[in-house]
Protein backbone atom coordinates (compact mmCIF):
# COMPACT_ATOMS: atom_id res chain seq x y z
CA UNK A 1 0.00 0.00 0.00
CA UNK A 2 1.44 3.41 -0.83
CA UNK A 3 1.96 5.26 2.40
CA UNK A 4 1.91 9.02 2.69
CA UNK A 5 5.58 9.46 1.77
CA UNK A 6 5.32 7.57 -1.44
CA UNK A 7 2.29 9.63 -2.32
CA UNK A 8 4.19 12.90 -2.02
CA UNK A 9 4.84 13.21 -5.72
CA UNK A 10 1.24 12.70 -6.65
CA UNK A 11 -0.37 14.55 -3.75
CA UNK A 12 -0.37 17.84 -5.66
CA UNK A 13 -2.05 16.14 -8.59
CA UNK A 14 -4.75 14.60 -6.42
CA UNK A 15 -5.50 17.87 -4.66
CA UNK A 16 -5.67 19.81 -7.91
CA UNK A 17 -7.94 17.21 -9.46
CA UNK A 18 -10.33 17.16 -6.51
CA UNK A 19 -10.46 20.95 -6.47
CA UNK A 20 -11.14 21.10 -10.20
CA UNK A 21 -14.26 18.96 -9.68
CA UNK A 22 -15.42 20.59 -6.44
CA UNK A 23 -14.46 24.20 -5.99
CA UNK A 24 -14.64 25.92 -2.62
CA UNK A 25 -14.14 23.07 -0.20
CA UNK A 26 -11.99 22.92 2.90
CA UNK A 27 -9.04 20.69 3.69
CA UNK A 28 -10.97 17.99 5.49
CA UNK A 29 -13.33 17.66 2.52
CA UNK A 30 -10.35 17.30 0.16
CA UNK A 31 -8.88 14.47 2.25
CA UNK A 32 -12.26 12.78 2.55
CA UNK A 33 -12.79 12.99 -1.19
CA UNK A 34 -9.42 11.45 -1.96
CA UNK A 35 -10.08 8.71 0.52
CA UNK A 36 -13.59 7.90 -0.72
CA UNK A 37 -12.88 7.98 -4.44
CA UNK A 38 -9.80 5.83 -4.07
CA UNK A 39 -11.88 3.53 -1.88
CA UNK A 40 -9.56 3.90 1.07
CA UNK A 41 -6.50 2.74 -0.83
CA UNK A 42 -4.81 6.11 -1.02
CA UNK A 43 -4.38 7.14 2.57
CA UNK A 44 -2.84 10.47 3.26
CA UNK A 45 -1.75 11.49 6.71
CA UNK A 46 -4.26 14.26 7.26
CA UNK A 47 -1.87 16.95 8.35
CA UNK A 48 0.52 16.59 5.41
CA UNK A 49 -2.23 17.98 3.23
CA UNK A 50 -1.82 21.48 4.65
CA UNK A 51 1.81 22.28 3.88
CA UNK A 52 1.05 21.10 0.36
CA UNK A 53 -2.03 23.32 0.17
CA UNK A 54 -0.12 26.31 1.48
CA UNK A 55 2.74 25.74 -0.90
CA UNK A 56 0.39 25.52 -3.85
CA UNK A 57 -1.35 28.64 -2.67
CA UNK A 58 1.94 30.53 -2.75
CA UNK A 59 2.66 29.11 -6.18
CA UNK A 60 -0.60 30.68 -7.25
CA UNK A 61 -2.26 27.45 -8.35
CA UNK A 62 -5.05 27.68 -5.81
CA UNK A 63 -6.52 30.46 -3.75
CA UNK A 64 -8.11 30.38 -0.34
CA UNK A 65 -10.61 32.42 1.58
CA UNK A 66 -11.87 32.31 5.12
CA UNK A 67 -15.60 31.75 5.69
CA UNK A 68 -17.61 31.52 8.83
CA UNK A 69 -19.74 28.45 9.30
CA UNK A 70 -22.93 28.21 11.35
CA UNK A 71 -21.08 26.51 14.17
CA UNK A 72 -18.91 29.59 14.57
CA UNK A 73 -15.75 27.85 13.38
CA UNK A 74 -13.86 29.64 10.62
CA UNK A 75 -12.93 27.49 7.65
CA UNK A 76 -10.52 28.06 4.87
CA UNK A 77 -12.04 27.17 1.49
CA UNK A 78 -9.83 26.44 -1.50
CA UNK A 79 -10.43 26.75 -5.22
CA UNK A 80 -8.41 26.39 -8.40
CA UNK A 81 -6.96 29.37 -10.23
CA UNK A 82 -6.24 29.67 -13.96
CA UNK A 83 -2.62 28.81 -13.32
CA UNK A 84 -3.80 25.85 -11.27
CA UNK A 85 -5.86 24.49 -14.15
CA UNK A 86 -2.83 24.65 -16.39
CA UNK A 87 -0.71 22.97 -13.73
CA UNK A 88 -3.30 20.23 -13.35
CA UNK A 89 -3.29 19.53 -17.09
CA UNK A 90 0.50 19.34 -17.05
CA UNK A 91 0.72 17.06 -14.04
CA UNK A 92 -2.03 14.86 -15.35
CA UNK A 93 -0.32 14.26 -18.65
CA UNK A 94 2.98 13.66 -16.90
CA UNK A 95 1.34 11.13 -14.65
CA UNK A 96 -0.14 9.36 -17.67
CA UNK A 97 3.25 9.23 -19.28
CA UNK A 98 4.94 7.82 -16.24
CA UNK A 99 2.34 5.17 -15.49
CA UNK A 100 2.26 4.19 -19.15
CA UNK A 101 6.00 3.77 -19.12
CA UNK A 102 5.96 1.82 -15.87
CA UNK A 103 3.19 -0.46 -17.17
CA UNK A 104 5.11 -1.07 -20.35
CA UNK A 105 8.16 -2.11 -18.39
CA UNK A 106 6.07 -4.39 -16.21
CA UNK A 107 4.61 -6.11 -19.27
CA UNK A 108 7.79 -6.46 -21.26
CA UNK A 109 10.34 -7.35 -18.64
Amino acid sequence: MPKSDKLQGSLDLLILKVLSRRPNIHGYAIISAIRQISEEILKVEDGSLYPALHRMEEEGWIRAKWTNTDAGIRRRLYELTKAGQKQLAEEESRWQHVTLAVNRVLRMA
Binding site: H26, Y28, E45, D46, P51, H54, I73, R74
Partner: protein, 457 residues
Protein backbone atom coordinates in the same frame (compact mmCIF):
# COMPACT_ATOMS: atom_id res chain seq x y z
CA UNK B 1 0.79 37.68 -4.92
CA UNK B 2 3.57 35.27 -4.02
CA UNK B 3 6.57 37.42 -3.04
CA UNK B 4 4.63 40.35 -1.70
CA UNK B 5 2.29 38.26 0.42
CA UNK B 6 5.26 36.30 1.75
CA UNK B 7 7.06 39.49 2.71
CA UNK B 8 3.93 40.79 4.35
CA UNK B 9 3.46 37.51 6.17
CA UNK B 10 6.95 37.83 7.64
CA UNK B 11 5.74 40.86 9.58
CA UNK B 12 2.69 39.14 10.95
CA UNK B 13 4.39 35.91 11.94
CA UNK B 14 2.39 35.27 15.09
CA UNK B 15 -1.03 35.87 13.63
CA UNK B 16 -0.04 33.77 10.64
CA UNK B 17 0.83 30.84 12.90
CA UNK B 18 -2.48 31.38 14.63
CA UNK B 19 -4.32 31.18 11.35
CA UNK B 20 -2.60 27.99 10.31
CA UNK B 21 -3.28 26.34 13.68
CA UNK B 22 -6.90 27.47 13.49
CA UNK B 23 -7.22 25.71 10.17
CA UNK B 24 -5.73 22.52 11.67
CA UNK B 25 -8.17 22.67 14.60
CA UNK B 26 -11.12 23.05 12.26
CA UNK B 27 -9.92 19.96 10.42
CA UNK B 28 -9.71 17.92 13.59
CA UNK B 29 -13.12 19.15 14.67
CA UNK B 30 -14.49 17.90 11.35
CA UNK B 31 -12.87 14.53 11.83
CA UNK B 32 -14.38 14.26 15.30
CA UNK B 33 -17.77 15.27 13.91
CA UNK B 34 -17.40 12.40 11.42
CA UNK B 35 -17.27 10.03 14.35
CA UNK B 36 -13.57 9.73 15.11
CA UNK B 37 -12.31 9.70 18.68
CA UNK B 38 -10.54 13.05 19.34
CA UNK B 39 -7.26 11.29 20.20
CA UNK B 40 -7.49 9.18 17.06
CA UNK B 41 -8.25 12.26 14.99
CA UNK B 42 -5.14 13.94 16.33
CA UNK B 43 -3.01 10.89 15.76
CA UNK B 44 -4.19 10.64 12.20
CA UNK B 45 -3.49 14.32 11.64
CA UNK B 46 0.18 14.07 12.45
CA UNK B 47 2.49 16.44 14.37
CA UNK B 48 0.96 19.88 14.11
CA UNK B 49 4.17 21.75 15.05
CA UNK B 50 6.24 20.08 12.35
CA UNK B 51 3.51 20.74 9.82
CA UNK B 52 3.18 24.30 11.03
CA UNK B 53 6.87 24.87 10.37
CA UNK B 54 6.50 23.50 6.84
CA UNK B 55 3.42 25.61 6.20
CA UNK B 56 5.09 28.75 7.54
CA UNK B 57 8.16 28.22 5.43
CA UNK B 58 6.12 28.12 2.29
CA UNK B 59 4.16 31.22 3.19
CA UNK B 60 7.00 33.36 4.52
CA UNK B 61 10.26 34.66 3.14
CA UNK B 62 12.08 32.90 5.93
CA UNK B 63 15.26 35.01 5.88
CA UNK B 64 13.10 38.08 6.25
CA UNK B 65 11.40 36.51 9.23
CA UNK B 66 14.74 35.84 10.92
CA UNK B 67 15.94 39.30 9.96
CA UNK B 68 12.93 40.82 11.66
CA UNK B 69 13.58 38.74 14.73
CA UNK B 70 17.21 39.86 14.80
CA UNK B 71 16.36 43.52 14.41
CA UNK B 72 13.99 43.31 17.35
CA UNK B 73 16.60 41.50 19.40
CA UNK B 74 19.39 43.92 18.46
CA UNK B 75 17.19 46.84 19.41
CA UNK B 76 16.65 45.24 22.82
CA UNK B 77 20.40 44.72 23.23
CA UNK B 78 21.09 48.36 22.44
CA UNK B 79 18.47 49.46 24.90
CA UNK B 80 19.94 47.18 27.53
CA UNK B 81 23.38 48.81 27.26
CA UNK B 82 22.04 52.35 27.15
CA UNK B 83 25.25 54.15 28.04
CA UNK B 84 27.45 52.23 25.66
CA UNK B 85 24.98 52.61 22.81
CA UNK B 86 24.55 56.30 23.46
CA UNK B 87 28.30 56.84 23.51
CA UNK B 88 28.69 54.94 20.26
CA UNK B 89 25.86 56.78 18.56
CA UNK B 90 27.16 60.15 19.72
CA UNK B 91 30.72 59.50 18.67
CA UNK B 92 29.70 58.29 15.25
CA UNK B 93 27.14 61.05 15.00
CA UNK B 94 29.57 63.84 15.88
CA UNK B 95 32.20 62.55 13.51
CA UNK B 96 29.75 62.06 10.68
CA UNK B 97 28.24 65.44 11.36
CA UNK B 98 31.65 67.08 11.09
CA UNK B 99 32.35 65.15 7.92
CA UNK B 100 29.05 65.97 6.35
CA UNK B 101 29.39 69.66 7.25
CA UNK B 102 32.85 69.83 5.74
CA UNK B 103 31.75 68.14 2.58
CA UNK B 104 28.64 70.23 2.43
CA UNK B 105 30.87 73.30 2.35
CA UNK B 106 33.26 71.77 -0.15
CA UNK B 107 30.38 70.71 -2.32
CA UNK B 108 28.62 74.06 -2.19
CA UNK B 109 31.76 76.05 -2.87
CA UNK B 110 33.76 73.87 -5.21
CA UNK B 111 31.77 71.04 -6.68
CA UNK B 112 28.11 71.76 -7.10
CA UNK B 113 27.40 72.81 -10.68
CA UNK B 114 25.65 76.11 -11.15
CA UNK B 115 21.93 75.85 -11.91
CA UNK B 116 22.37 76.58 -15.61
CA UNK B 117 21.96 74.64 -18.83
CA UNK B 118 24.86 72.26 -19.47
CA UNK B 119 27.24 73.55 -16.80
CA UNK B 120 29.82 71.06 -18.11
CA UNK B 121 30.11 73.11 -21.30
CA UNK B 122 30.77 76.33 -19.39
CA UNK B 123 34.32 77.64 -19.12
CA UNK B 124 35.98 80.81 -18.00
CA UNK B 125 38.97 82.54 -19.55
CA UNK B 126 42.08 83.12 -17.48
CA UNK B 127 45.54 84.31 -18.31
CA UNK B 128 48.66 83.11 -16.65
CA UNK B 129 51.76 85.25 -16.36
CA UNK B 130 55.21 84.25 -15.09
CA UNK B 131 57.10 86.99 -13.30
CA UNK B 132 60.26 86.40 -11.30
CA UNK B 133 59.71 82.67 -11.41
CA UNK B 134 56.24 82.96 -9.94
CA UNK B 135 53.08 82.07 -11.80
CA UNK B 136 50.11 84.36 -11.39
CA UNK B 137 46.68 83.84 -12.82
CA UNK B 138 44.14 86.49 -13.48
CA UNK B 139 40.76 86.22 -15.09
CA UNK B 140 39.67 89.79 -15.74
CA UNK B 141 39.25 91.02 -19.27
CA UNK B 142 38.76 94.26 -21.22
CA UNK B 143 35.75 94.76 -23.42
CA UNK B 144 37.37 95.48 -26.81
CA UNK B 145 39.21 92.18 -26.63
CA UNK B 146 36.00 90.44 -25.59
CA UNK B 147 34.20 91.83 -28.64
CA UNK B 148 36.90 90.62 -30.95
CA UNK B 149 36.97 87.17 -29.34
CA UNK B 150 33.24 86.81 -29.45
CA UNK B 151 33.15 87.46 -33.19
CA UNK B 152 36.04 85.06 -33.74
CA UNK B 153 34.39 81.94 -32.20
CA UNK B 154 30.78 82.82 -33.00
CA UNK B 155 30.13 79.48 -34.70
CA UNK B 156 31.68 77.33 -31.95
CA UNK B 157 30.92 79.06 -28.68
CA UNK B 158 29.14 82.00 -27.16
CA UNK B 159 31.06 84.39 -24.94
CA UNK B 160 29.37 86.03 -21.99
CA UNK B 161 30.80 88.95 -20.06
CA UNK B 162 30.01 88.92 -16.34
CA UNK B 163 31.46 91.53 -14.04
CA UNK B 164 32.61 91.00 -10.51
CA UNK B 165 29.96 91.55 -7.88
CA UNK B 166 30.01 94.93 -6.23
CA UNK B 167 28.12 96.16 -3.26
CA UNK B 168 26.30 99.39 -4.04
CA UNK B 169 24.05 101.88 -2.32
CA UNK B 170 20.66 102.17 -3.83
CA UNK B 171 17.33 103.75 -3.04
CA UNK B 172 13.93 102.47 -3.96
CA UNK B 173 11.79 105.28 -2.68
CA UNK B 174 13.37 108.48 -1.44
CA UNK B 175 17.00 109.55 -1.26
CA UNK B 176 16.92 109.22 2.53
CA UNK B 177 16.44 105.49 2.54
CA UNK B 178 19.66 104.06 1.28
CA UNK B 179 20.18 100.35 1.29
CA UNK B 180 22.89 97.99 0.13
CA UNK B 181 22.67 95.35 -2.53
CA UNK B 182 24.96 93.19 -4.64
CA UNK B 183 24.98 94.15 -8.27
CA UNK B 184 26.55 92.43 -11.21
CA UNK B 185 26.86 93.54 -14.81
CA UNK B 186 26.07 90.76 -17.26
CA UNK B 187 25.85 90.42 -21.03
CA UNK B 188 22.26 90.68 -22.17
CA UNK B 189 22.43 87.26 -23.80
CA UNK B 190 23.61 85.56 -20.62
CA UNK B 191 20.11 84.51 -19.60
CA UNK B 192 19.23 82.76 -22.84
CA UNK B 193 22.71 81.23 -23.06
CA UNK B 194 22.44 79.84 -19.52
CA UNK B 195 18.91 78.65 -20.13
CA UNK B 196 17.46 80.91 -17.43
CA UNK B 197 13.85 81.94 -17.72
CA UNK B 198 12.09 84.80 -15.99
CA UNK B 199 10.14 83.97 -12.84
CA UNK B 200 8.30 87.26 -13.40
CA UNK B 201 8.31 89.84 -16.18
CA UNK B 202 11.19 89.27 -18.58
CA UNK B 203 14.98 88.93 -18.47
CA UNK B 204 17.57 90.68 -20.63
CA UNK B 205 18.06 89.81 -24.26
CA UNK B 206 20.83 90.83 -26.60
CA UNK B 207 18.78 93.93 -27.52
CA UNK B 208 19.01 95.19 -23.95
CA UNK B 209 22.78 95.31 -24.17
CA UNK B 210 23.66 97.14 -27.39
CA UNK B 211 24.51 100.78 -26.84
CA UNK B 212 26.64 102.06 -23.97
CA UNK B 213 24.55 103.89 -21.42
CA UNK B 214 21.24 103.36 -23.22
CA UNK B 215 19.67 100.51 -21.22
CA UNK B 216 18.78 101.58 -17.67
CA UNK B 217 17.15 98.23 -16.91
CA UNK B 218 17.53 95.73 -14.09
CA UNK B 219 16.65 92.11 -13.43
CA UNK B 220 16.37 90.95 -9.81
CA UNK B 221 17.54 87.60 -8.56
CA UNK B 222 14.81 85.37 -7.18
CA UNK B 223 16.21 85.28 -3.65
CA UNK B 224 16.47 89.10 -3.53
CA UNK B 225 12.93 89.44 -4.83
CA UNK B 226 11.76 87.12 -2.08
CA UNK B 227 13.81 88.53 0.79
CA UNK B 228 13.57 92.25 -0.05
CA UNK B 229 10.11 92.42 -1.62
CA UNK B 230 8.44 89.32 -0.20
CA UNK B 231 7.78 88.09 -3.73
CA UNK B 232 5.70 91.18 -4.61
CA UNK B 233 4.06 90.41 -7.98
CA UNK B 234 3.87 94.11 -8.86
CA UNK B 235 7.60 94.66 -8.76
CA UNK B 236 7.97 94.81 -12.53
CA UNK B 237 7.99 98.42 -13.71
CA UNK B 238 9.20 99.89 -10.44
CA UNK B 239 12.50 101.70 -10.46
CA UNK B 240 15.37 102.49 -8.13
CA UNK B 241 18.38 104.76 -8.11
CA UNK B 242 22.07 104.00 -7.86
CA UNK B 243 23.82 107.34 -7.40
CA UNK B 244 22.20 109.59 -9.95
CA UNK B 245 21.04 106.88 -12.28
CA UNK B 246 17.57 105.49 -12.34
CA UNK B 247 17.02 101.85 -13.31
CA UNK B 248 13.76 100.18 -14.13
CA UNK B 249 13.05 96.65 -12.99
CA UNK B 250 11.92 94.52 -15.91
CA UNK B 251 11.72 91.15 -14.27
CA UNK B 252 12.95 88.48 -11.90
CA UNK B 253 15.27 85.63 -12.91
CA UNK B 254 14.22 82.09 -12.12
CA UNK B 255 15.48 80.49 -8.94
CA UNK B 256 17.91 79.33 -7.71
CA UNK B 257 20.35 81.19 -9.99
CA UNK B 258 22.10 83.95 -8.07
CA UNK B 259 25.08 84.89 -10.18
CA UNK B 260 28.23 83.07 -11.15
CA UNK B 261 30.35 84.16 -8.22
CA UNK B 262 30.01 81.26 -5.83
CA UNK B 263 29.87 82.55 -2.27
CA UNK B 264 28.25 85.83 -3.16
CA UNK B 265 24.58 86.12 -4.01
CA UNK B 266 23.77 88.66 -6.67
CA UNK B 267 20.70 90.78 -5.98
CA UNK B 268 20.51 92.90 -9.09
CA UNK B 269 21.66 92.18 -12.63
CA UNK B 270 22.42 95.14 -14.93
CA UNK B 271 23.40 95.12 -18.62
CA UNK B 272 27.15 95.40 -19.29
CA UNK B 273 26.52 98.48 -21.44
CA UNK B 274 25.65 100.38 -18.27
CA UNK B 275 29.14 100.14 -16.78
CA UNK B 276 30.57 103.58 -16.09
CA UNK B 277 33.84 105.20 -17.16
CA UNK B 278 33.58 104.39 -20.84
CA UNK B 279 34.41 100.80 -19.89
CA UNK B 280 33.11 99.36 -23.14
CA UNK B 281 35.70 101.09 -25.29
CA UNK B 282 38.75 101.07 -23.05
CA UNK B 283 41.58 98.63 -23.46
CA UNK B 284 43.11 99.39 -20.08
CA UNK B 285 40.04 98.78 -17.98
CA UNK B 286 39.62 95.13 -17.04
CA UNK B 287 36.43 94.64 -15.17
CA UNK B 288 34.77 91.33 -15.97
CA UNK B 289 35.26 87.63 -16.46
CA UNK B 290 34.70 86.06 -19.85
CA UNK B 291 32.58 82.95 -19.69
CA UNK B 292 32.69 80.63 -22.65
CA UNK B 293 29.70 78.45 -23.38
CA UNK B 294 30.74 75.83 -25.91
CA UNK B 295 28.25 74.66 -28.48
CA UNK B 296 27.46 70.94 -28.31
CA UNK B 297 30.31 68.73 -29.44
CA UNK B 298 32.96 71.43 -29.60
CA UNK B 299 36.28 70.66 -27.93
CA UNK B 300 37.54 73.34 -25.51
CA UNK B 301 41.00 73.20 -27.09
CA UNK B 302 39.89 74.34 -30.55
CA UNK B 303 38.07 77.30 -29.06
CA UNK B 304 41.03 78.17 -26.85
CA UNK B 305 43.41 78.14 -29.78
CA UNK B 306 41.18 80.51 -31.69
CA UNK B 307 40.72 82.81 -28.75
CA UNK B 308 44.45 82.81 -28.30
CA UNK B 309 44.84 84.64 -31.63
CA UNK B 310 42.67 87.50 -30.44
CA UNK B 311 44.46 87.45 -27.11
CA UNK B 312 47.90 87.86 -28.78
CA UNK B 313 46.57 90.77 -30.86
CA UNK B 314 45.25 92.41 -27.76
CA UNK B 315 48.52 91.96 -25.87
CA UNK B 316 50.55 93.47 -28.69
CA UNK B 317 48.12 96.33 -29.13
CA UNK B 318 48.00 97.12 -25.45
CA UNK B 319 51.76 96.74 -24.96
CA UNK B 320 52.27 99.70 -27.28
CA UNK B 321 50.93 101.96 -24.56
CA UNK B 322 53.56 100.83 -22.08
CA UNK B 323 56.28 103.39 -21.47
CA UNK B 324 58.67 102.43 -18.70
CA UNK B 325 58.84 98.68 -18.79
CA UNK B 326 61.96 96.56 -18.64
CA UNK B 327 62.64 94.11 -21.42
CA UNK B 328 62.01 91.11 -19.16
CA UNK B 329 58.71 92.46 -18.01
CA UNK B 330 57.63 93.09 -21.57
CA UNK B 331 58.72 89.59 -22.48
CA UNK B 332 56.74 88.14 -19.57
CA UNK B 333 53.71 90.20 -20.49
CA UNK B 334 53.71 89.13 -24.09
CA UNK B 335 54.18 85.45 -23.32
CA UNK B 336 51.13 85.16 -21.10
CA UNK B 337 49.16 81.99 -21.59
CA UNK B 338 45.45 81.91 -22.20
CA UNK B 339 43.59 79.22 -20.23
CA UNK B 340 40.11 77.83 -20.50
CA UNK B 341 39.08 76.65 -17.04
CA UNK B 342 35.92 74.82 -16.15
CA UNK B 343 33.34 77.15 -14.68
CA UNK B 344 30.70 74.58 -13.82
CA UNK B 345 30.72 75.32 -10.06
CA UNK B 346 30.92 79.07 -10.66
CA UNK B 347 34.00 81.21 -10.28
CA UNK B 348 34.91 83.32 -7.29
CA UNK B 349 37.72 84.58 -5.16
CA UNK B 350 36.24 82.69 -2.24
CA UNK B 351 37.00 79.43 -4.05
CA UNK B 352 40.62 80.42 -4.53
CA UNK B 353 40.95 81.62 -0.95
CA UNK B 354 39.34 78.70 0.80
CA UNK B 355 39.70 75.84 -1.66
CA UNK B 356 42.90 74.46 -0.19
CA UNK B 357 41.96 75.01 3.44
CA UNK B 358 38.65 73.28 2.85
CA UNK B 359 40.47 70.35 1.32
CA UNK B 360 42.74 70.10 4.35
CA UNK B 361 39.71 70.38 6.58
CA UNK B 362 38.08 67.55 4.67
CA UNK B 363 41.09 65.29 5.22
CA UNK B 364 41.26 66.13 8.92
CA UNK B 365 37.62 65.49 9.38
CA UNK B 366 37.91 62.13 7.64
CA UNK B 367 40.62 61.24 10.14
CA UNK B 368 38.31 62.22 12.97
CA UNK B 369 35.68 59.95 11.50
CA UNK B 370 38.19 57.10 11.34
CA UNK B 371 39.06 57.66 15.00
CA UNK B 372 35.41 57.66 15.96
CA UNK B 373 34.88 54.42 14.08
CA UNK B 374 37.81 52.80 15.85
CA UNK B 375 36.35 54.00 19.10
CA UNK B 376 33.08 52.31 18.37
CA UNK B 377 34.84 49.18 17.16
CA UNK B 378 36.63 49.14 20.50
CA UNK B 379 33.33 49.41 22.35
CA UNK B 380 31.83 46.60 20.30
CA UNK B 381 34.84 44.39 20.94
CA UNK B 382 34.50 44.86 24.68
CA UNK B 383 30.82 44.19 24.34
CA UNK B 384 31.47 40.98 22.41
CA UNK B 385 33.83 39.70 25.10
CA UNK B 386 31.16 40.34 27.68
CA UNK B 387 28.70 38.38 25.60
CA UNK B 388 30.89 35.37 24.89
CA UNK B 389 28.72 33.19 27.15
CA UNK B 390 25.59 34.15 25.29
CA UNK B 391 27.24 33.42 21.97
CA UNK B 392 28.53 30.08 23.18
CA UNK B 393 25.02 29.19 24.29
CA UNK B 394 23.62 30.14 20.92
CA UNK B 395 26.19 27.94 19.20
CA UNK B 396 25.25 25.05 21.50
CA UNK B 397 21.57 25.20 20.65
CA UNK B 398 22.41 25.09 16.98
CA UNK B 399 22.76 28.64 15.75
CA UNK B 400 24.75 28.65 12.53
CA UNK B 401 27.75 30.90 12.02
CA UNK B 402 25.71 32.81 9.45
CA UNK B 403 22.92 33.58 11.86
CA UNK B 404 25.36 34.74 14.57
CA UNK B 405 27.11 36.98 12.09
CA UNK B 406 23.76 38.34 10.96
CA UNK B 407 22.85 39.14 14.53
CA UNK B 408 26.07 41.04 15.19
CA UNK B 409 25.96 42.84 11.85
CA UNK B 410 22.40 43.94 12.44
CA UNK B 411 23.34 45.41 15.79
CA UNK B 412 26.18 47.30 14.17
CA UNK B 413 23.93 48.43 11.36
CA UNK B 414 21.38 49.76 13.84
CA UNK B 415 24.14 51.68 15.61
CA UNK B 416 25.42 53.03 12.32
CA UNK B 417 21.97 54.15 11.24
CA UNK B 418 21.36 55.94 14.51
CA UNK B 419 24.81 57.54 14.25
CA UNK B 420 24.18 58.63 10.69
CA UNK B 421 20.86 60.16 11.63
CA UNK B 422 22.51 62.07 14.47
CA UNK B 423 25.28 63.12 12.09
CA UNK B 424 22.77 64.43 9.60
CA UNK B 425 21.16 66.57 12.25
CA UNK B 426 24.53 67.95 13.40
CA UNK B 427 25.60 68.70 9.84
CA UNK B 428 22.35 70.51 9.23
CA UNK B 429 23.17 72.82 12.14
CA UNK B 430 26.86 73.44 11.68
CA UNK B 431 27.54 74.26 8.06
CA UNK B 432 25.70 77.60 8.14
CA UNK B 433 27.74 78.59 11.23
CA UNK B 434 31.00 78.12 9.38
CA UNK B 435 29.75 80.20 6.48
CA UNK B 436 28.79 82.95 8.90
CA UNK B 437 32.30 82.88 10.33
CA UNK B 438 33.97 83.68 7.02
CA UNK B 439 31.32 86.22 6.14
CA UNK B 440 31.58 89.88 7.05
CA UNK B 441 28.91 92.58 7.12
CA UNK B 442 30.70 94.48 4.35
CA UNK B 443 30.89 91.56 2.00
CA UNK B 444 28.33 89.05 3.14
CA UNK B 445 29.14 85.53 2.13
CA UNK B 446 26.10 83.55 1.27
CA UNK B 447 26.25 80.03 -0.01
CA UNK B 448 23.47 77.93 -1.27
CA UNK B 449 23.62 75.09 1.24
CA UNK B 450 20.88 72.71 0.31
CA UNK B 451 20.81 69.74 2.68
CA UNK B 452 19.89 67.19 0.08
CA UNK B 453 20.83 63.64 -0.83
CA UNK B 454 23.83 64.80 -2.82
CA UNK B 455 25.46 65.85 0.43
CA UNK B 456 24.68 62.68 2.33
CA UNK B 457 25.92 60.42 -0.42
Amino acid sequence: MPLWSRIRNAFRGDSLSGEILEEYEAHIADAVADGLHPAEARRQFGRPLGLLEASRDSRIVSWLDSLRGDVVFAWRQLKKNKVTSLAAVLSIGLAMGACASAFRLIDALLLRPMPVDHPERLFVLAHEIRIDGKTLTDDFCAYPMFRQMRALVKDRAELVAISYVSRVDLTFTTAEQIEKANQQYVSGWMFSEFGLHPALGRVFTEDDDKTPGAHPLAVLSYSYWQSRFGGDPHIVGRSFRIGNDRYQIIGVAQKPFSGTETGTMVDIFLPTMMVKNNAIARNDYQWFRTFVKLKAGVAPKTVRDRLDLAFRDYLLEYAKTFRTVSKEEMQAYLSQRLLLNSAAPGVSKLQADYGLSLFVLGVLVLLVLAIACLNVANLSAVNATARSREIALRLCIGAGMGRLLQLVLIESALLACAGAAAGGVFAFWWAPYVVNMISSPVAPTQLNLPADWRVLV
